[in-house]
């Protein structure tokens, strides 16, 4: 049986999902856990229910400026992730639609860091991580409300083996 290799990107995302699964919202006056989903190919495994967080992987862009010389050298990448939190209020609600979206965005960011000063290493896999734009969903239709949080994670691997994490 072949060995199972997890790329640094996959390890980072799995750790991210684990952290997000600990997130709790209090918007209804009682704690509500978020449902974290990585969409499957035909998107049949998820639904934009209230308090759902979708983890979407973007590209791993090269970061030549963070490469390290050596033999073999270490090559650096910036992994872009989009965390989309869905918030749904009742049709009869008179509360501002953005309130729950704002809370959800904050809860997502807090869960990702976990209050840990070393959150950006994702268990020693990454060099650095930083949040990007936080935005509520555009008001183009009445279907969905929520907020997206952009996250960029930097990591380095061996040029000879993309599964080998280099510091």
């Amino acid at each position: 049986m072949p060995a199972v290799f997890l790329s640094p990107a996959e390890r980072i995302i799995r750790e991210l999902v684990r952290r997000l699964e600990s997130a709790t919202l209090f918007s209804d006056g009682k704690p509500t856990a978020v449902e974290v989903v990585r969409p499957n190919r035909d998107a049949s495994n998820w639904s934009p229910k209230d308090n759902t967080v979708l983890v979407m992987q973007g590209e791993s862009a090269r970061l030549p400026g963070m490469d390290l010389p050596g033999n073999p050298p270490a090559v650096a990448y910036a992994l872009t992730l989009t965390l989309a939190g869905f918030a749904r209020q009742s049709d009869r609600s008179t509360l501002p639609d953005d309130s729950e979206s704002n809370e959800l965005a904050g809860v997502i960011q807090r869960a990702v860091t976990g209050g840990d000063a070393d959150w950006h290493t994702f268990g020693g896999v990454a060099l650095d991580a930083r949040f990007g734009d936080v935005a509520t969903f555009p008001r183009t239709s009445d279907s969905h409300s929520g907020a997206t949080v952009e996250l960029t994670v930097h990591y380095r691997v061996s040029e000879l083996d993309p599964f080998e994490v280099r510091s």
Partner: protein, 109 residues
């Protein structure tokens, strides 16, 4: 006239069983008949995520279907088979498309 005779006949003839969960309470589902137009695949507005979209028609009735006045796209869920014959998955009712002729037509993601 159509709303009293045509709509119930259509739903009865071409419908299938789904489960309606008012206010998202999955312990209190109501089994009803619905006509389902599957796989109207769309692109969601949240970071270009693809979403599995279906259009559902039910009778405008609070026991045999879902009434136009009770449906709540902020909270209501629907259990439906993603493919005919499969077991049901619980999905979000996201938008009412029309309420005419004794039918409520809505989108489920």
């Amino acid at each position: 006239m159509f709303s009293r005779t045509g709509s119930p006949t259509l739903i009865h003839q071409f419908g299938e069983s789904v489960t309606y969960y008012p206010a998202g309470d999955t312990s209190a589902g109501r089994t009803i008949e619905a006509m389902i137009e599957r796989e109207v695949a769309g692109i969601d507005q949240a970071g270009d995520a693809m979403v599995f979209a279906t259009v559902v028609r039910v009778r405008d009735d609070n026991t045999l279907g879902i009434s136009a006045t009770e449906i709540d796209t902020g909270a209501d869920l629907l259990g439906l088979a993603m493919r005919v014959g499969e077991s049901q998955r619980i999905k979000q009712i996201v938008r009412v498309l029309s309420t005419e002729n004794g039918l409520v037509r809505f989108e489920v993601n």
